[in-house]
Symmetry: C2
Subunit: 162 residues, 2 copies
């Protein structure tokens, strides 16, 4: 059982010798996302998901939107957005209707129940944000948000960079 042990070869270091998976940005982002998801599940009202939260909040801010527009504002793929809208329709938080002015567009509108839950989860999300960042000091939180914003705002499709 010692045949493929990674042995140190003096003078010629093994490939990947200093590779640390735990310092790779992708791995760290996955862990941070997991932490957020766990806290989200604990603090959110009405079993709303993060994607549903984004969608509800954007509808609250902008009123009726079409699906593609919602997808752009929330940085979601059209296929993903459809799934989210479908589930919001099933739960009667939003209603969809054909746009009389443009046959391609699907208008998405908050129901009154949807408006209520949207306002509630928007408040919840503040707590979730703070709980997620709890291990960091106020200055560190600010720094992290700034760095992540810089990281993503250069993306062409980022709603931030607009």
């Amino acid at each position: 059982m010692s045949t493929d042990k990674s042995k140190k070869v003096s003078g010629k270091r093994k490939a990947g010798f200093n590779y640390v998976l735990e310092r790779q940005i992708g791995f760290l982002l996955r862990l941070a996302t997991q932490r957020h998801a766990m806290l989200f599940g604990q603090h959110i009202s009405g079993r709303v998901t993060p994607q549903q939260l984004s969608t509800l909040v954007k509808l609250l801010e902008h009123g009726t939107c079409w699906q593609t527009q919602l997808g752009r504002m929330t940085a979601m793929d059209v296929a993903t957005m459809k799934g989210v809208v479908d589930r919001l329709v099933a739960r009667e938080f939003v209603e969809v209707a054909a746009d009389p002015a443009d046959g391609r567009r699907i208008q998405v509108t908050l129901t009154s129940a949807g408006k209520a839950i949207a306002e509630r989860v928007r408040r919840d999300s503040i707590d979730i944000h703070n709980a997620t960042l709890a291990p960091l000091t106020a200055a560190e939180r600010e720094r992290l948000i700034t760095l992540l914003t810089k990281l993503v705002s250069s993306d062409s499709d980022a709603p931030l960079g607009k």
Copy 2:
């Protein structure tokens, strides 16, 4: 169309007045993860996924492992890990076998093809890491990694905090 515009009410600010979805940690993490996923797909060899990369790298470092052990090392749920292993088996990058010493355990071992691809994607992942962090300076990258590490290392199940 101006009925539900968010109008400033002097003295009594509207609920959610200063709520900015784009500054919520959950939203930013999703965008950063998307950015990483895009670059990952562009630079990775052999259509390996991020989870498969983590699994392959851990197998490279530790040799044969059982599934649950792999799940802990890569911070993946057992159900998720099973899916990843199943797909790695299907692609003949790993082989599974019952542990003779413990009937519950499933031993996962790299095949020679798996070892080759593991070494290749481990190298790829360095490029992906750098490409993902490209908008940041060297100092900023270091800061971001440090902050994310601090954020997740307090989690009970974090492989970092061990």
